[in-house]
């Protein structure tokens, strides 16, 4: 944060990318730690969101519209993934009557 509050209307690229990667890292940490399956899915959404931020940041750096189009594509991908993920969570709830990751211990060794 070396040039804090400059008078120009531009922001260092590092900050945006940093923000994106930070959100991504937060999502990853949540993904690795949280026990509730649905919250896990939220963390996945968070990671994707972080990646989108980085994408948008790089669309501004060299200045091309492609990344923004990809971000739009990512919405569809995230939506589809969320759908299937939640369906699986519901199935696990119905079969194992539990929504925590520890319930998934049968296949091992």
């Amino acid at each position: 944060m070396m040039n804090f509050l400059p008078l120009t209307d531009s922001v260092p690229l590092a900050h945006i990318v940093g923000l994106g990667v930070a959100v991504f890292a937060a999502g990853t940490f949540g993904f690795l730690v949280r026990r509730n399956l649905i919250v896990l899915l939220m963390c996945v959404e968070l990671m994707l969101n972080g990646a989108n931020i980085v994408l948008v940041a790089f669309s501004r750096a060299p200045g091309a519209a492609d990344p923004q189009v990809w971000v739009i594509f990512m919405f569809a991908v995230a939506a589809a993934e969320a759908g299937v993920g939640l369906a699986l969570a519901v199935l696990i709830w119905r079969r194992l009557r539990a929504l925590d990751i520890d319930a998934l211990k049968e296949l091992k060794g």
Binding site: L13, V21, N52, A79, G83
Partner: protein, 167 residues
């Protein structure tokens, strides 16, 4: 004056996004996490608009915030699992490992791209026109777009077959 305002807005929104993310990770009840995620998504769409990706911003609000969040709320409702889980958290070692992993990833990526971050991004520039972006979607990325339709179709079929009560 306008630039100062823009800068402040950018950092404000960044803060909001980070707070939302932290909320999703740390809050105990799934419903609160869902709301916190919603907040993050809205903040991010603001960020997009600020950075000139208006189409992405607006779509995010409609598609992402709207539909996906509805799905989450529905899922939480269906499993009736609003109360925080009574399952013990991960052993300390794994917690530390997860933290180290996430932080490590952040550090490595930032380290990797540290060298070329001298560039600056102009806030609130004039965005690419929707027509131009549409031209891209239906021009060069048409095959990818078609694939997306297939993806969504597959997603629907997959969700239905998994979540159906009985076949």
């Amino acid at each position: 004056m306008k630039p100062l305002l823009l800068n402040a807005a950018f950092y404000l929104i960044s803060g909001a996004v980070l707070a939302g993310a932290a909320g999703v990770v740390l809050l105990r009840r799934p419903l609160y996490c869902a709301l916190s995620l919603l907040f993050t998504l809205l903040a991010t769409s603001g960020l997009y608009i600020l950075l000139g990706a208006e189409l992405a911003g607006y779509l995010q609000i409609i598609v992402y915030a709207g539909a996906v969040m509805a799905l989450f709320i529905l899922a939480i409702h269906m499993t009736g699992q609003d109360a925080p889980l009574k399952v013990p958290p991960l052993p300390r070692l794994l917690l530390m490992a997860a933290g180290a992993g996430a932080a490590g990833l952040f550090a490595l990526l930032m380290l990797a791209s540290a060298r070329f971050f001298i560039a600056f991004v102009k806030l609130a520039p004039e965005p690419w026109s929707v027509a131009e972006q549409a031209g891209l979607i239906f021009g060069r990325y048409a095959p990818q777009f078609e694939l997306l339709s297939l993806l969504v179709l597959a997603g629907i079929a997959g969700t239905v077959v998994t979540a159906k009560k009985k076949l």
